[in-house]
Symmetry: C2
């Protein structure tokens, strides 16, 4: 049995949607149990009705607009704080939340704690590519400024995750840059390039923005500032294109019929990009896997996120990361 | 009559495709003449056949894999070097090239020269958004490292270009960042934010990657490293989605018919994103407008690029930029 703690509060869609996702995850995985953290009125009736669900009743919530560290200090009974503590205490082996990124990162880093030797945790996501290939990209926003030696650790963590999540053997690593040539880059990117080249971490060269959704690299590393801009540029483009297609479909009857016939295919494409498959980004470098769902996660995304978190816990991802980083450090 | 110099060499698709685009631009604009720079065998017969086209015969080409500054120094008769010199000498009022970015930037910066007071030229592109809105984004790769006072100049240059290219009055400016809150950013982005807030340049706050293809800002500024990553992430996403749709269309007869009915609409969407409308990015800050087409520019993109360059020359873009920056400096 694998137990995952789910913070059902803090999502834009409300606790009901998160609970629907938890129910779907429980139905899909007989070896899963869920510790459900949130307000009494939501979690108690849910756990009475669902076998495998246990309530962790909390009275506070950290909202999107609150300062994460301050809220973490003052709201001792917030769902995400209690959820992280439950993982720390061994009541659960992983954590899923669709709450505010800052609150999840803070509660997880302080509440669960880093793997020994890991300098900075990083947010990672397997991005879809051609021919079913996935590229693990990190950091997606946990650290705006990153030193070169930390980028090398990101490479090791990304490789461990690519093995666990995508089954990739001996993953290749690229550095997100403004050109594929070795001479390209900001001063910082050139320093990253040098550190990666010396880092014995599968580094094969610079990646461009066009390489993220392709099959050129198994892992792409970058600082959290650049990674966040790239990921949100991808999200914005998908949203823009879907909007343009919808607009075109409304413009003529012929195009409208075409769109109707294509709808299931378009939905599948949108779902592949929306992160529904993995349910969100995973925070790597902590003593337990933490999956951070989108603030507007659907029940389907929550289900994927909880299952992905359970899979990472079963594959002993933190152990794999510790090993990858300590072997490299020797 | 407005004369634009077109470097017909250095494009991935060969001089023939560029010349097709020049012919289309000449046919579309009776007030346009083109100085056609390139090898004798291409430009001389073309100019004999096309009224309004004058040959600038050159014997050398700077290729994609050459070191730009070195090639600029040694290949005195390269098409892009001669083209920039022709603009400098007043034989043409603007320059279009689909050659290597490095070669175009170097030849233009040294050959045409910067507007007095401009610290660094920047590459800009009007990106499509919702409801026909366009957001001018810069820098897209001319400067990997940018100081805060230079970002403020980018804001002024971007605003002048938004007025000329998109007709936007009093354009708003955003800073590309890893979050919309003022407190978000790398150390450098926080320094940019402070400089922009004090810069009297229409700055209204941080922009995220999702804001690029929307209608939230009229101008988005960033350093050339981040801008290049964002632009290429957008390009990569569009390519990925078009590929996925094509794949889906081949997977079932029903979806295939849908795709066929939607084809013109999908093509229009792809064309809007491919930069065909403006024919490429424009280099701002030089004494004449320089449009840099994609290496694989189609004839349609070359036509748009030449016409956009002529429009910028007619609107006296360099004068507008000088004024925007000098008024701000007072």
């Amino acid at each position: 049995m694998t137990t995952i703690c789910v913070d059902v509060m803090g999502s834009d869609k409300g606790p009901e949607e998160v609970l629907k996702g938890v129910a779907a995850a429980l139905a899909a995985d007989a070896q899963l149990s869920v510790l459900v953290a949130g307000a009494d009125e939501y979690v108690t009736p849910f756990c009475a009705e669902h076998e495998g669900a246990k309530a962790l009743v909390t009275t506070e919530v950290i909202h999107m607009d609150e300062h994460p560290t301050q809220a973490f200090r003052t709201k001792k009974d917030a769902s995400i704080v209690r959820a992280a503590a439950a993982v720390h205490n061994g009541e659960a082996e992983g954590l899923f939340s669709a709450g505010s990124t800052g609150a999840v990162l803070t509660a997880a880093a302080f509440g669960i704690g880093r793997i020994k030797g890991i300098k900075r945790p990083a947010l990672a996501l397997p991005c879809p590519g051609v021919n079913g290939h996935h590229t693990v990209m990190l950091d997606l926003g946990a650290n705006a400024d990153v030193r070169p030696e930390v980028i090398v650790q990101f490479a090791h963590m990304g490789r461990a995750y690519a093995k666990v999540a995508c089954g990739t053997e001996n993953p290749t690593v690229g550095l997100l840059c403004n050109g594929s040539e070795d001479t390209k880059g900001s001063e910082m990117a050139l320093a990253y390039h040098k550190a990666l080249a010396e880092g014995n971490c599968g580094f094969i060269g610079n990646a461009e923005g066009t390489d993220i959704l392709s099959d050129t690299f198994d892992v792409i590393v970058t600082d959290g500032f650049t990674g966040n801009v790239a990921l949100k540029s991808i999200e914005g483009t998908a949203k823009f294109l879907v909007g343009q297609i919808k607009e075109a479909a409304g413009s003529s009857k012929k195009v409208g019929i075409g769109a109707l016939l294509m709808k299931p295919a378009l939905k599948a494409v949108a779902s592949e990009l929306s992160g529904d498959r993995y349910g969100g980004a995973i925070l790597l470098g902590l003593k337990a896997p933490v999956v951070k769902g989108h603030g507007s996660s659907t029940a389907a995304a929550v289900k994927s996120g909880v299952l992905a978190c359970a899979a990472a816990a079963r594959a002993r991802l933190p152990h794999e990361i510790a090993e990858a980083c300590s072997i490299a450090a020797k």
